[in-house]
Subunit: 341 residues, 2 copies
């Protein structure tokens, strides 16, 4: 290597280093969206400023599937399918009963199209009768070994790099980050801890009814097949209030089902619709990156309409994110749609 190239490498390396040291969000492309995040965080965390918010009230809530990691498919459906397949021989009735029939026959294709309620029902039934401890142990193993059908990475490696940066940046500025999942709270807890360093009690999600039983002189919790709470749509603000007891000042979700609209609206303190949000920030992620992740939208465009009406920040994965994953994704499959597992 000539001295000149070596020098150039050193200069480039140094420049990259300087940028990393000064830019808390290097995986976000510079632009209005990124600037809005930086401005908001500076405003609410500057003591004496007119938009200052105390650290105790700096609550940020994040949807998970499709907001923090891919949801095509989400991990809980694949986890449920794996166990349903094992149990199917003992359950001939599933061959004629929905959603089991469809799930067992169509497998991944079913998970692509099914709504969150149906998929979570599969989770509830597939794991019914097990102790919470055994269920979680299996889930941890699944998430650490099963691979995403397209990216061929374990679920614990599928965190979006820009969102990892955003959560770390918020934490460094006194925010308390929570995950508010429409999926299984147990799976979300494992992924949140292993990919985002978020502790178990900072995750809210869907849950099944459990029962407290005495077994061998010890109290254990066993899961029933009944859904206790499906944490989606209008339930998200209620579960946030129940779990945290404070109204968030930052909320992030994604475009797909409209399930995050109420959570984002709830985090907004603007007195009148359409007014510029004050002391709060709403982030809506749009999956428009066929090459690096997926491209899909919402049939009724409800999330984007709500974003327009309420002045929310819309994030284009394609244009706003310099990098999506920590790994280099393989080529997109040749046949569209790219999202079939």
């Amino acid at each position: 290597m000539s001295g000149r190239i070596l020098l150039l490498s050193a200069v480039v390396g140094f420049a990259t280093l300087c940028q990393a040291a000064t830019d808390p969000l290097p995986a976000w492309r510079d632009g209005a969206g990124k600037q809005r995040i930086l401005d908001f965080v500076r405003e609410v965390s500057t003591p004496g400023g007119s938009h200052y918010v105390t650290p105790a009230e700096r609550i940020a809530v994040f949807d998970d599937d499709g907001t923090l990691w891919p949801e095509k498919p989400g991990p809980q459906g694949l986890f449920a399918l794996e166990r349903l397949r094992l149990q199917a021989p003992q359950h001939p009735e599933w061959q004629n009963q929905m959603p089991f029939k469809a799930a067992l026959e169509l497998q991944g294709r079913y998970l692509q199209e099914a709504d969150d309620a149906s998929v979570f029902q599969l989770v509830a039934v597939a794991q019914a009768g097990r102790t919470q401890a055994a269920f979680r142990s299996d889930a941890r193993e699944f998430l650490g070994t099963a691979r995403h059908p397209r990216f061929q990475q374990t679920w614990t490696r599928l965190a979006y790099t820009p969102m990892r940066e955003l959560l770390a940046y918020l934490r460094a500025n006194g925010f308390h980050n929570f995950i508010v999942s429409a999926g299984s709270v147990d799976l979300a807890r494992i992924l949140a801890s292993e990919t985002y360093g978020i502790s178990s009690d900072d995750v809210i999600g869907s849950s099944v009814v459990a029962t407290l039983r005495e077994e061998d002189g010890k109290l254990v919790l066993r899961r029933l097949a009944t859904v206790h709470s499906l944490n989606d749509g209008a339930i998200k603000p209620l579960s946030i209030d129940q779990h945290i007891g404070l109204r968030p000042i930052l909320a992030a979700g994604n475009v797909r089902s409209g399930g995050d609209i109420d959570m984002l609206r709830y985090s907004q303190r603007a007195e009148t619709p359409g007014a510029r949000p004050q002391q709060s920030l709403q982030i809506l992620i749009r999956h428009d990156d066929f090459e690096r992740e997926y491209a899909y939208d919402e049939k009724d465009r409800a999330s984007l309409n709500a974003a327009d009406a309420n002045g929310w920040m819309i994030v284009s994965m394609r244009y706003d994110w310099r990098q999506v994953f920590s790994f280099q994704p393989a080529e997109a499959p040749a046949s569209a749609p790219a999202d079939a597992p």
Copy 2:
């Protein structure tokens, strides 16, 4: 003041200072109980030790009324009564309807005898139709201004000094403390924050059903009169699992209704009943201090029996606590029982 007395004062002052610096629990009398706490904390937080527990798993759960502050009466009943009295003229039906009739007629005496479910029903009805924000604002004012009928202190000053020390000591040793209340989660959150420095999301409790409504273009939560969850007895382990997702290694409750037995048992990992607890500690507080606080027991002695059978630590307020409150309590009332407000 003579030089000799001055010198003596300085020596005594220095000795007190030294003790405070070395003893993390100065309000606890030295003895087997205190030593058990110190040993347990040292064992689970010593890296490499055979009982070491990672910080993420050092979960401690505390009942509140009667464990962290007095429950004769608990604050939620008095708060509900205040508002029920205001609304009574508009509700003539309450004059013949239980528990309203009894509460309005007997007032404090009713609260002494009523079970947690009835008292929480009063809270639910008294605050029905209000927004969560308005309800919390009133609750905060009540707890900061209303005075305990016997101690003549605001509720925010009624924390037990030994328990404040214990929670601070646990926190300093990497524990994450949660409050698991049978009473209103909202009131517990305010008191937990103001007296124990515990953040809102680290409090689990009873809640009412709320509804998400659009009002003036903004989403607000309004309380209904229906109880969503009464967080007592066998529900406590379930709500801990739901909210935290980890089994606690320390649990503390008190003798009165037996409502903490399941929580304490759940925190115990001993494989067989009666075995010495390993890597976990259960603390049961007994109110046997008529002079400084109250003296009452449980009719069926269920909590004490469970403590004996499972090897739990029983704390006598009278003998184990050098100090109960941060203030000097007034004389106990001459007439027994001392617990009538």
